[in-house]
């Protein structure tokens, strides 16, 4: 099988993969972001502390995360048919991809939001900000670099899942690899597809990392060292250790 045979197949499969990953990412953000925010806010010592809600949402998320993806695809076939009208092709694969990624992303969002310094939340509350103000002006903007990193991780996971969906007729590069590379023993073709996936993942990682870095103003922009974020307050506060221990704060965590 020569390059000329491979090329049209590759182009179409790549388009399909991009479509399903793209649409699934969109759905994941639309649902996972509010869900993760809800988890962070209803946590203990959260702004809207609410144990029953947190437990309920947390359980759903945990169940979603523990189901093996291949099982998930099969398990939600009726739902998939109801949403897109088919259970084959990339359109059908988009549904389980999104369902699988939402709980994953929600947990990452929860962590990113809960990592925002509780002092910032207090500062905005002290100036008369409502919970919504805190979410909109503090939690989401301050967590943005971490959210972008989380999304990068999620998209990469989605690319991997999409290849897996291909094995059960989900279309895209995964189907191509199974149908040609595995079943027809076109080993070269399989390596080409694998290489393309590697390139795809690397690109997403690079773009995501770069974006997250450009959004992060936590360290002085002039010095880009290899060191990871040094919490600026601490480096600027040699006496911080002597100062009195504070009463428990909302989420008084500092990043390293």
């Amino acid at each position: 099988m020569g390059w000329n045979d491979m090329q049209p197949l590759l182009v179409q499969a790549t388009q399909e993969t991009l479509w399903m990953v793209g649409l699934a990412t969109l759905a994941t953000v639309l649902v996972g972001l509010p869900l993760g925010l809800l988890l962070a806010l209803t946590r203990r010592d959260g702004l809207l502390q609410n144990a029953p809600v947190n437990k309920a949402v947390g359980t759903v998320v945990n169940v979603g995360r523990s189901l093996p993806f291949v099982i998930l695809i099969v398990a939600i076939i009726p739902f998939t048919r109801w949403v897109v009208g088919t259970t084959l092709g990339w359109q059908a694969a988009t549904v389980p991809l999104a369902i699988g990624a939402i709980p994953f992303f929600a947990r990452l969002v929860e962590t990113a939001v809960a990592d925002v310094d509780g002092g910032l939340v207090e500062a905005v509350q002290a100036m008369g900000g409502s919970t919504w103000t805190v979410v909109r002006r503090v939690l989401l903007p301050e967590a943005l670099p971490a959210l972008v990193s989380s999304l990068t991780t999620t998209v990469i996971a989605l690319i991997g899942y999409s290849a897996m969906a291909g094995t059960v007729g989900g279309g895209g590069l995964g189907t191509l690899a199974i149908n040609y590379g595995y079943m027809r023993f076109e080993t070269t073709f399989m390596w080409v597809i694998a290489a393309e996936l590697v390139v795809l993942v690397t690109l997403v990682q690079l773009v995501g990392e770069g974006l997250a870095r450009s959004l992060d103003h936590k360290r002085p922009a002039t010095r880009r060292t290899f060191r990871r974020r040094v919490t600026p307050q601490i480096s600027a506060a040699p006496k911080a250790a002597e100062t009195p221990a504070r009463e428990p704060e909302l989420t008084g965590s500092t990043r390293v």
Partner: protein, 369 residues
């Protein structure tokens, strides 16, 4: 301007069955801050001062008691009214709490965004505020690019954005080096004078009280054990705050002598009372410790002197010093030490009087004096 009465805050300790599960961070605090003054609350870690200041704008809701700021009872307000009221109470924090992803100007602008001003009005106000704190050239910088002192100035500018009547300062200088601390305190003092801003600050540094405060309160174990204007405190016999403001050391008193602390302020500082005393009564005065400082804009001094003989022998010279408008406190005397016995007149048990390490001067002849 700020009045708390019988303020209590009780925390529930987690997971220690058997032991008392409740910890009182505030145990009936009455605080009165007058309009236009700088009021400092000092205390060691865990004394409850942080909880206290956070109760004043209800970041922490007190378990019971009342908080009145500018005539409004905060604990009775609805959430919306509380948010409205908080806009007239500025607050600065130990760790600045600036948003890392907003520039200096955008940080200062934040409270203005909540109050619904137009973009142009906000920009004008931000420029004005940055000018006030001396950071006009840093408007476009991010907090990570600033020094600690600069960050706190941004914090102060932000706290002032809503034109507050009251500024709360939660250990605002505790993360700064001494020199930066001085300049930030100077700024607070200037704002207090220029804008008539009432400032309530908490700190664990006596120097902060000394350099900017008009009044002070000492907290211990959730209670205010001493409070008043600095002048009052210095005049008050046995005041722990006064002693902290003027540490005179713990020099061992000479055998068979009477040790007195003399506090003088205002006009009395100019009097040569020691030499007058020596000349008039022919006593040999030895100075054990002395300090003269400016407290709250007034010249104040404190001196610990030793007079030969027992208290009874020194009644007349001490009376003379009192006549000069000096405040005299007898710390120890040869006679009363023997008769009163060790520790019998200690007031340490109530937490008001002597510190433990001072208890060897237990025969404080307060009653006699």
């Amino acid at each position: 301007m700020i009045t708390t009465s019988d303020l209590r805050k009780v925390y529930r300790a987690q997971g220690r069955p058997g032991s008392n599960p409740e910890i009182a961070a505030l145990d009936g605090v009455d605080l009165h801050v007058r309009q236009g003054e700088v009021y400092g609350v000092v205390g060691t870690s865990g004394a409850g001062k942080s909880t206290l200041i956070r109760c004043v704008n209800l970041l922490e809701r007190p378990s019971s008691g009342s908080v009145r700021v500018d005539g409004r009872e905060l604990t009775a307000l609805s959430p919306a009214e509380l948010r409205e009221t908080r806009r007239s109470i500025g607050m600065v924090f130990q760790h600045f709490n600036l948003l890392a992803r907003r520039t200096v100007a955008e940080n200062v602008e934040l409270p203005l965004e909540l109050s619904g001003l137009t973009r142009r009005e906000r920009a004008a106000r931000v420029a004005e505020l940055l000018d006030l704190v001396g950071l006009a050239d840093k408007a476009k910088a991010y907090p990570a690019q600033l020094s600690g002192g600069q960050k706190q100035r941004v914090g102060i500018a932000r706290a002032l954005a809503g034109d507050p009547k009251v500024l709360l300062s939660d250990e605002a200088t505790s993360a700064l080096d001494p020199e930066t601390t001085r300049s930030v305190l100077q700024l607070l003092r200037d704002l207090n004078r220029q804008l008539g801003l009432t400032i309530l600050l908490i700190t664990h540094e006596m120097d902060v009280i000394k350099s900017v405060c008009d009044s002070a309160a000492l907290m211990r174990a959730g209670r205010v054990v001493e409070s008043g204007t600095l002048t009052e405190l210095l005049e008050q016999p046995g005041s722990e705050l006064a002693r902290e403001l003027f540490p005179l050391g713990e020099g061992e008193p000479l055998q068979g002598s009477t040790v007195v602390d003399i506090t003088f302020q205002g006009d009395a500082t100019a009097q040569p009372f020691i030499s007058q005393l020596a000349r008039t009564y022919n006593v040999d005065v030895s100075i054990i410790g002395a300090a003269v400082e400016t407290v709250g804009g007034r010249q104040v001094g404190r001196m610990r002197v030793s007079l030969p003989g027992s208290f009874e022998e020194n009644v007349v010279p001490i009376g003379y010093l009192r006549e000069q408008g000096l405040q005299v406190e007898v710390i120890a005397s040869a006679e009363s030490r023997r008769s009163a016995g060790w520790g019998s007149t200690q007031r340490g048990t109530t937490g008001v009087g002597t510190r433990p390490e001072r208890s060897r001067a237990g025969a404080r002849a307060e009653g006699a004096a």
